[in-house]
Symmetry: C2
Subunit: 338 residues, 2 copies
């Protein structure tokens, strides 16, 4: 499950993300400047490795959510910039640690940081960025923000361990899978949005609404990401498909296809995803089974449901361009699968 | 360099550590209770793996330093208990991440957590404990403590990366080596002591004095630890020697012996520590070279010097049993090598 997936717009689909980028405007440049300046260290390997990940790190969706949430809440100060950088540092540290490979596992085809610098360097630079995130929060000085993001960090780690325990286990059910992505993906989306209300000193109800928006958006985002790994749409964007399959990752499409399949199907899933015994043609068969059992369309339906909940959560917040754009970006992220 | 080394007393040598344990008394039991209660998680693998490390985690020297420092500063509250647990969580997370093995490296003979549960689980549970440490600090509510420990965490990560860059490099000089241990070991000792003054609300000069005490103690502690890995004394305690040698770790004894050796010696060190090409008898030869060049005695002399600076740093602080015992525990830790 590549949580690193970039949010790139396909033909005609990029307008809402562009609108979000326009909304946060110069603030995003300021966040990027903080990121670059605060990943520096006299220890040369740290900015080298961190730069590799940060440069490849997609469109800064999470920090943009912090900026947009603060904007929506009418915030006019500068604190959201450092905190958005802090959110991105936590995300980057998570990516680095998520890519650490056990001896028993396959390496990805792509040159992840651990493939270039080794597992240990990835772990330690992740630790550095994680610590730096907390230093940024301390400089900001809000114990409420520190509470939200330290809790989110614990929950993310729990989610990653849960994912490890369900990895390659075709017996994983939908509830267990949703628990994993709620912890490992949705929690940081939720925290990123919530702190926007905190810096703006808005009432708890607004912080809670933004938390719900982020959490549901994160669920939708991860479900779409899981679908994209098996989607022909992904290929038209020039990306590889089947990474999750090759790694034996159990995502919702697989959970649904496994449960709905017959014994032959289950033998296939166990061989390919549990034993990682894969032959040419297996990915095609997997995609055929996912299609036959409506696994991708049903996962997308669930993603849409979470997306609708995210947009609905915004309803109690002040109307205007920020709210409008934050709603549209959810729709865009959900529909990018098509 | 096993920073996890337990501080066990040899025959007749344990009195000062026992005095420290007696000084902190019930508070240490309270710290242990917080550690056990806060490493719990609905995700079963987390307490299992964390328990494995925490149970094997030595004598809780760092949290005892927080407790003793608070005591020395006349503190009578309970905040030092949670913060001492936080310090131990950071230390444990560091150990877990320090044990992550690259494909290219040797595994240790002992069953470290990563050998039992895998690299990835060790990384993620380390992340959980690290996040939990920050949650404990947030509950405490002191931004000064958060500042000290978030900075310490960044510096530790930098030190670990520096160590990685000097690993297996016989060209490492004394300055580079001391920079590594100052960051990876001394920084947390220093922070553990400093926060004792912060909770007691003492003037900045007292916090600085305890910071110096901890930093110099940490340097002495690590140097002794490096000596013990090649020390016959270690064998009489029933421990293995030569772990650092087998892993190709460059510690100060090796730095000195390499610099003082002739070309034959250097060929030997390069083969065994850089190429990790080791044969039976090599450890004996290494120990013989360390002895011939006074590498262990000179490292010990340096450890004593740092130890003396640590004790001297206490001089401006209130006299009494806590100060006396904190001085003696340094001497004990230095002399445990004999």
């Amino acid at each position: 499950m590549g949580v690193a997936a970039t949010v790139t717009g396909g033909p005609g689909g990029g307008s809402s993300l562009e609108a979000l980028t326009a909304l946060v405007g110069d603030d995003l440049q300021a966040v990027n400047a903080v990121i670059v300046s605060r990943m520096q260290s006299p220890v040369a390997m740290i900015p080298q490795l961190a730069g590799h990940v940060v440069a490849a790190g997609g469109k800064r969706l999470r920090p943009m959510l912090t900026l947009a949430s603060a904007h929506l809440c009418g915030y006019r100060g500068r604190r959201h910039v450092g905190l958005a950088a802090s959110v991105e540092f936590i995300h980057t540290a998570t990516l680095l640690h998520d890519d650490v490979v056990d001896d028993s596992e396959l390496r990805r085809g792509l040159a992840s940081a651990n493939a270039v610098w080794g597992n240990k360097a990835s772990v330690l630079v992740g630790d550095f960025l994680f610590s730096r995130a907390f230093e940024l929060m301390v400089e900001d000085g809000s114990l409420d923000v520190l509470r939200i993001l330290s809790r989110a960090s614990s929950v993310i780690a729990e989610g990653e361990v849960m994912q490890l325990m369900t990895a390659n286990d075709t017996g994983t059910d939908q509830t267990a899978y949703l628990d994993v992505i709620r912890a490992k993906t949705a929690e940081l989306f939720a925290a990123a949005c919530e702190i926007g209300a905190v810096v703006a000193d808005r009432p708890a109800a607004d912080a809670a609404a933004l938390q719900r928006y982020g959490s549901n958006f994160g669920m939708a985002f991860q479900l779409v990401d899981d679908v994209l790994d098996y989607s022909a749409r992904q290929m038209t964007l020039g990306k590889t498909i089947g990474d999750d399959f090759r790694e034996g990752k159990i995502t919702l499409p697989v959970v649904l296809a496994f449960q709905r399949g017959d014994e032959d199907d289950r033998v296939f899933w166990r061989r390919t995803l549990e034993d990682l015994d894969q032959a040419p043609g297996d990915l095609d068969r997997a995609m055929e089974l996912l299609k036959r059992h409506n696994a991708l369309t049903d996962t997308m339906a669930m993603a849409r449901e979470y997306g609708e909940r995210a947009v609905a959560a915004l309803s109690t917040l002040p109307p205007g361009a920020p709210r409008q754009i934050m709603g549209e970006v959810v729709d865009f992220c959900v529909e990018r699968a098509f």
